[in-house]
């Protein structure tokens, strides 16, 4: 016991090795990350009467409204092979995962301020925990989608076993983006508000409730396809209910953007964390 404790050792001269230290911390603090995720889920579900059902009900209400409004515009025959409501649900679920995840990961460090100014915990742990919580919500919210697929005769194709791939890559993407936002959010209060607006814009720029044929052949189509979240969405639709097979470049964009954004976010955060600690 004593021997093990003596190895706990802090030397302020030992600099964090950028990138390496953060990934080591993600692993070393996995027990704490698990507890923080559990806290997020418990607190969210305990606070509402409907508990876990609220997670399922909440997106369904949004989807219900969008379905009533847009099914006559975007759900017309010919464009989609699948029922419009399934197309819409998959779109909303993925874009919600993206936008809520980025904001949760981005605000986690500032929100944990009162912990971070009193005891030493690598701050990036809180961002990763928030992303994992967002991923858990996403997985839970797939249940109503599966129900719709079964009820409406779309079925659940075997490719559903591949859905963890975009889910995990999105987890990497939002963790990286969250750390980028977090690095800036300690300096300026409005970074989070701006990020909220930007993620919302990015969400409108992917075909969640609308279909791509509306912008086909225009400059907007290029903008839509340049948004990495577009690639996640089309691949997710392909695998979760057997939507149209997207072109191969989307797979490259999905993998590439996850790795690039995660590494970039961790690196920028790593370069700034000393200043972040003082500014908190």
């Amino acid at each position: 016991m004593t021997a093990a404790q003596s190895t706990v050792y802090y030397d302020s001269d030992l600099r964090r090795r950028p990138l390496v230290a953060e990934f080591q911390n993600f692993w070393r603090y996995r027990g704490l990350i698990r507890l923080l995720v559990a806290r997020d889920l418990t607190v969210r579900y305990k606070r509402s009467v409907l508990g876990v059902w609220w997670t399922i009900l909440n997106p369904m209400l949004t989807i219900g409204v969008l379905w009533i409004v847009f099914s006559n515009i975007f759900g017309r025959g010919g464009v989609l092979d699948e029922p419009y409501v399934i197309y819409l649900t998959a779109g909303i679920l993925l874009s919600t995962y993206f936008s809520q995840g980025v904001i949760a990961a981005g605000s986690a460090i500032v929100n944990s301020r009162n912990i971070l100014i009193k005891m030493y915990i690598p701050p990036e742990i809180f961002s990763l925990a928030a992303s994992v919580a967002a991923a858990s919500h996403f997985v839970l919210s797939l249940i109503p989608l599966f129900i719709l697929q079964l009820v409406l005769g779309q079925g659940i194709p075997w490719t559903v076993v591949l859905v963890p791939i975009p889910a995990i890559l999105m987890l990497m993407f939002i963790t990286g983006a969250g750390l980028l936002i977090a690095s800036a959010a300690v300096y300026y209060r409005d970074v989070l508000d701006i990020s909220r607006v930007v993620t919302q814009l990015l969400n409108y720029l992917i075909p969640t409730f609308w279909t791509l044929d509306f912008v086909e052949g225009t400059a907007v189509e290029l903008i839509v396809k340049a948004n990495p979240v577009y690639s996640y969405l089309v691949i997710f639709r392909w695998w979760v209910y057997g939507g149209d097979r997207p072109p191969n470049w989307t797979i490259a964009v999905m993998f590439g953007s996850a790795v690039v954004v995660l590494v970039l976010g961790v690196y920028v955060f790593s370069r700034n964390w000393r200043r972040v600690a003082v500014r908190l």
């Binding site: 404790q5 706990v8 302020s12 027990g31 559990a38 806290r39 009162n114 005891m119 409005d190 970074v191």
Partner: protein, 245 residues
């Protein structure tokens, strides 16, 4: 055998820049930068502080408000990295600084104990085994699976203290925690602190209570404007500080 002291603070300085124009948003920052109005002011919270604390020693820190006492605690607790100089801490640190942050009122006492313990750097599996001992010390056994939002502030303070001291740390950093709770709790927590100290921990304690420090500490440091004003035997330093008014 030469034993290295558990805490070594070597010529530590901590500076940070504060924007006096109080720019809090990107929008404002952009405008000010354009008009070159950014007024950055450098604040020297600690300035060349050097000392070490040995095993079993109780090291008191005094000084007026804003002297850098809490900053010093945070530097030792690894929360703030020093701008210059070096800090060496050998052993497990128990930071007793405003206990209980991180506890969530929606969680039960048991869940909070495990989460708070993990935040303090302990293995969740080990804390799980200690839950009954922790709630017993805090006197909240009957409420172990009750959300802590129903707890009184005294119960919360006892619970947090019980979790924070449920180890034998090699380094104990105490910032005014002994002033919480009622008389009975203070006596009880004093006893617990004495146990930890007797266990051979190196203790750094910040307090505004000179009588308390007189009673407890062996050596003391008087900090003023981030600099060492006096360092030495507790009685001498505390006398000097009191004489300064």
């Amino acid at each position: 055998m030469i034993v290295s002291p558990p805490i070594e603070v070597l010529d530590v300085s901590l500076r940070y820049r504060v924007d006096r124009s109080n720019v809090g948003t990107i929008k404002e920052a952009a405008f000010r930068t354009l008009r070159r109005q950014q007024k950055m002011e450098s604040i020297q919270a600690l300035d060349g502080v050097t000392f070490s604390v040995n095993k079993g020693e109780i090291f008191g820190v005094v000084g007026p408000n804003g002297a850098g006492k809490s900053t010093l605690m945070k530097v030792i607790a690894r929360v703030l990295p020093p701008t210059d100089g070096r800090v060496l801490v050998r052993g497990q640190v128990a930071p007793m600084i405003e206990l209980g942050s991180g506890m969530n009122p929606e969680l039960t006492a048991r869940e909070n104990i495990i989460l708070y313990g993990a935040l303090l750097g302990r293995d969740p599996r080990l804390i799980r085994e200690r839950v009954s001992a922790i709630v017993e010390w805090a006197g909240v056994e009957e409420f172990v699976d009750v959300p802590t939002r129903t707890f009184s502030s005294g119960m919360m303070a006892r619970l947090a203290f019980s979790v924070a001291t449920d180890i034998d740390p090699e380094v104990l950093v105490v910032d005014e925690v002994l002033s919480v709770g009622d008389k009975a709790f203070r006596a009880k927590s004093q006893l617990r602190m004495n146990e930890l100290i007797a266990g051979g921990a190196a203790v750094v304690i910040v307090s505004h209570s000179i009588p308390l420090l007189r009673e407890l500490s062996t050596r003391a440091l008087w900090l003023d404007h981030g600099q060492i004003k006096m360092l030495g035997a507790a009685a001498e330093v505390l006398d000097g500080y009191e004489a300064s008014g």
